[in-house]
Amino acid sequence: MSPKRVVLRFMAETADKPIIYQLIRNYDLVVNILKAHINPHKEGMMVLEIQGEPEQYARGLEYLRSLGVTIQPLSQDVHRNETICSHCGACISVCPSGALYLERPDMTVNFDEDKCVVCLMCVRACPYKAMEVRF
């Protein structure tokens, strides 16, 4: 199964449970946390990339639903946080579409959202975590 991206939303009671650990251990899924946020009321949002056997994947999601987690498939875009970006250039070589590129001779890093194919390579590779997933 190719990796699937889903958005989880959960309530305070679930925020304390090791749900990711369970997904990995009990359903043998490869889970990548692309984004996680827990607000002061302990309500959480998490974006996961999940890979594994389709049956296990379905059972894993069933398990999450049994805990009251709502699950949505991801429709997303990638956004650059301009205050965080240091224009280092570490994302240039991983970006397959040329959406991230160097402006010469200034050597500033530009981001052309229209060219972005939302592969999320930069989200993982940016040392400053300036590339964010948005919905």
């Binding site: 490869v30 240091s86 224009h87 250039g89 570490a90 240039i92 991983v94 160097l102 993982r124």
Partner: protein, 400 residues
């Protein structure tokens, strides 16, 4: 007549508002136009800058005594352990330390989302940071545990102390193996799919004073957005100047140990970073003013990207094995153009240290000096120069 200036004369010009300061970028066209001698006569100070990840960085703290007293033997800041084998409430936090429960590379490549560098950034950003400490308890220090929250302003001392910063020059990393690798030089695609480099070239501090004629112990510098000082040669300091087979020369190997009051630094110039598959670290903004005392110093301070070379090293096999035999040498001008030619192939390049931020640091330092608030300091002692250090040894394994 040869140009000779003293630091005292330059400082007098700073105080009287007459000082002429150019950044290491700005001085290049001036020297091309007017020649080294004329430029050395006209310019008093050249400012440099770099904004790159520097793993050998850290900070030490004095938390203040607890009631009852406690000799902290293990300390964690935001769950990241700091070394507490010092006096009761002192600890040193290293930039690359990660939380005890970090998954590391168990799912490769690990993300290393938070570490010592991030804690330093959060402190400088004046965010609250959790402090946990445990102790075994003594008659004079009975307390055994504390869990509290601190901010940098609560601390008696918070000092950035980096044993090795501002590496003079650095490898250009490529990967000759057949799989993608995740390194401190970024993501490297197989079969030389890309080449990453990591200095600011013509703006980089130690490339502009390769003989360490002006930079020494006590040199006042821009560090993390505040003022800092050079305290010693950095670890692995071994400056060299090697003629290259195809012309040009390689300047490399110099490093600095630097120190400064963390409380006056700025979060935008000390940033925690996460290198996929490698670890957490700290990006440090650092800039050094070079007093133009004579023509020789001006000659070096005005070398451009076209004349500064870096070695290309394979991080797929050679580097991890400990055989960093360069595959070749390229100039920073070639690196910045976007492609280099290696073994007959065009390889796309990308930087890892921010050139725009380096330029900004050199400009800020220039403004500080011109405003009269930043005087240049005479080194108390100079650092070992080219050929004055015995070559670095590697660790020999022996029977215990």
């Amino acid at each position: 007549m040869a140009v000779e200036k003293s630091l005292a004369e330059i400082n007098a010009r700073i105080k009287s508002g007459k000082v002429v300061v150019l950044t290491a970028e700005e001085v290049i066209p001036l020297v091309r136009e007017k020649g080294v001698r004329q430029a050395a006569a006209e310019v008093d100070v050249v400012t440099t800058g770099t904004f790159g990840t520097m793993c050998s960085s850290g900070a030490y703290f004095n938390f203040g005594h607890t009631k009852p007293r406690m000799k902290m033997s293990k300390v964690w800041l935001n769950n990241v352990q700091a070394y507490a084998g010092l006096a009761a409430v002192d600890a040193f936090l290293g930039a690359t330390e990660v939380p005890d429960n970090d998954p590391l590379n168990s799912i490769h490549p690990g993300e290393f989302r938070y570490g010592g560098g991030h804690v330093i950034h959060d402190l400088v950003a004046r965010k609250p940071v959790s402090l946990r400490a445990i102790a075994y308890g003594t008659d004079c220090y009975p307390r055994r545990e504390i869990n509290t929250v601190i901010t940098i302003d609560d601390l008696n001392q918070a000092v950035l102390f980096n044993p090795r910063n501002a590496y003079q020059n650095y490898n250009v990393a490529v990967n000759l193996s057949d799989r993608t690798i995740y390194t401190y030089m970024g993501v490297l695609k197989p079969h030389m799919g890309n080449a990453n480099y990591s200095t600011s070239g013509q703006l980089s501090p130690l490339l502009k004073d390769p003989y360490f004629r002006t930079i020494g112990i006590g040199t006042r510098i821009f560090l993390g957005g505040g003022t800092g000082y050079v305290v010693w040669q950095g670890t692995q300091h071994c400056p060299g100047l090697t003629p290259l087979p195809e012309g040009g020369q390689l300047v490399s190997g110099g490093t600095l140990a630097v120190i400064g009051d963390l409380k006056q630094m700025r979060p935008e110039w000390l940033v925690g970073v996460s290198f996929l598959g490698y670890g957490a670290s700290l990006t440090v903004g650092l800039g050094i003013p070079i007093p133009i005392l004579n023509e020789e110093i001006m000659y070096w301070a005005s070398r451009s990207d076209e004349e500064i070379y870096a070695p290309v090293v394979d991080y797929g096999l050679d580097y991890p094995a400990g055989n960093p035999q360069p595959l070749g040498y390229v100039t920073y001008a070639q690196l910045k153009s976007g492609t280099i030619n290696l073994q007959g192939r065009e390889v796309p390049t990308a930087p890892l240290s921010s050139y725009p931020r380096a330029r900004q640091i050199a400009a800020i330092l220039k403004d500080w000096i011109r405003a009269g608030g930043f005087l240049l300091s005479e080194p108390v002692a100079l650092l070992p120069s080219i050929n004055e250090v015995t070559p670095l040894k590697s660790l020999q394994e022996k029977e215990a």
